[in-house]
Symmetry: C2
Subunit: 250 residues, 2 copies
DNA sequence: GCCTCATTTATTGTATACATAATGAATGCA
DNA sequence: TGCATTCATTATGTATACAATAAATGAGGC
């Protein structure tokens, strides 16, 4: 929920952006649906100016698409689009890992990653089928990836990785796929965690090519995971909670 | 020049965006300089609402940076940032080439690329040191790269490539470096053109890994070219013309 | 009965007025 | 003399009024 009237500390623009993002991700605004400014005003409770700003930002974010004659519509994504986005993200993360390895990182920079990794290790010994544990996993995993791209020390790269992350994680179907796959193949998480460990090892040993290859393979695993999930969809009831937790963290 | 008062066919927002982009790229607004809305209003001649839209879009474009307390400043880029951006772009173009190769492309899709390639061949037999020929080269080369990413058939990837192109080509120093390097090492263009030919060949023969490797190497060539240019800067007088032609094509 | 043109309506684009927050300077007090 | 507090000024955030354009619907003619 977007706390429409309360929380005066954040700007109207941000409030509108959060509200609208929530509406899109939760599916209340369907793909391909045109969204008029006045409609957005009704939905968010703020006036047209901040609503327009929010719409422009959501367009840049990739959730909306500008209509030539004016206005915006909710962007539609194919499964192929989402799979491609995962590969793009993996490719960029591969470059990030390689940069980190080639340019060298201090033990101080690596510390938060190792800490995060340890937390993930602990978590993965629990039952990842439960909503709480899975949500915690999603958050920790996202943090690992964010820390990793930071490790590259390259502002343009960090920026690009951020942008390429929008689609795989923003899309409702992405969420459906991610969690449903998880439910039936939680050992995949263990392999993913192995990737996390080995990429850090590669970076520490300055093995750039290896670090890059691991992150690419990591993305391929995620993609495979999702393709698998497309066939046998389960646990769709988990979706709303996941979407909500993701929208909140922005 | 951005034709301030004339050309009523385009929106005020777009006019403001073009004007401001031109001001930034031409260096009249210096890196790190704060740009207030009223100042932007003065400079562009449109009112605050479209100016704000333009500022937000330029922020998303990567040319401006939001100041926490409000407002925007012209973003500053290091040489490292620009070199990284070239590598990022090359990496993504590598994926695009691989996608094209793996998924297959029709002869009809390849036709415009081959035509473009032939035009480049003709051009490269001329004196690339002249402003006209070099400008034409820049335009044709940009078109080749755009067509190539289109060939991937992946909307998310095309989008990402577009975004990663902003920095290397938008930045004035990128232009300085690109053209000054060119002036003293025009044989590099011939090698680059060979890359263009061979990547198409690889795509036609469905050699995905080779296609990807070529585009990566292509970017490395560009990066090397620029590093070289950093040492002996020449022909800086060409800069304004190049910036102007680039700003116009958007 | 269908096609075309005009009128009307709705929606976006633009401008400006107002409010609020931040910044800087000046004055008073310690 | 130095620091803090307050006031003034400037800038951004927000709302709304107005204009222009595009879409839709109706009527009239072919």
């Amino acid at each position: 929920m977007a706390d429409r009237e309360s929380d005066r500390s954040v700007s109207q623009t941000v409030r509108a952006q959060l509200s609208l993002r929530d509406l899109i991700l939760s599916g209340r605004l369907r793909s391909g649906e045109r969204i008029s400014e006045l409609q957005a005003v009704e939905l968010t409770g703020v006036s047209r100016t901040p609503v327009r700003m929010a719409l422009v930002r959501l367009e840049e974010e990739g959730l909306l698409e500008a209509i030539p004659s004016g206005g915006f519509m909710v962007k539609a994504f194919s499964e192929r689009d989402i799979l491609d986005s995962i590969e793009i993200r993996g490719t960029l993360e591969g470059v990030a890992a390689r940069f980190a390895a080639e340019r060298g990182v201090s033990a101080r920079d690596l510390a938060p990653l190792k800490e995060n990794l340890a937390e993930l290790d602990v978590l993965l010994r629990q039952d990842t089928h439960s909503v709480e544990v899975f949500s915690a996993y999603v958050a920790l995993n996202a943090r690992f990836h964010a820390l990793l791209s930071d490790l590259s020390g390259s502002a343009p790269l960090i920026r690009q990785v951020d942008r390429s992350s929008a689609l795989p994680f923003a899309s409702p179907s992405g969420f459906v796929m991610a969690q449903s796959a998880l439910a039936e193949a939680s050992q995949i998480l263990l392999i993913a965690q192995d990737h996390h460990h080995t990429v850090i090892d590669a970076i520490e040993n300055r093995e750039g090519a290896r670090a890059e290859a691991i992150m690419r393979e990591h993305a391929r695993l995620a993609a495979r995971n999702l393709r698998l999930a497309l066939r046998n969809r389960t646990h769709l009831d988990l979706l709303p909670a996941l979407v909500r937790s993701s929208a909140a963290e922005v």
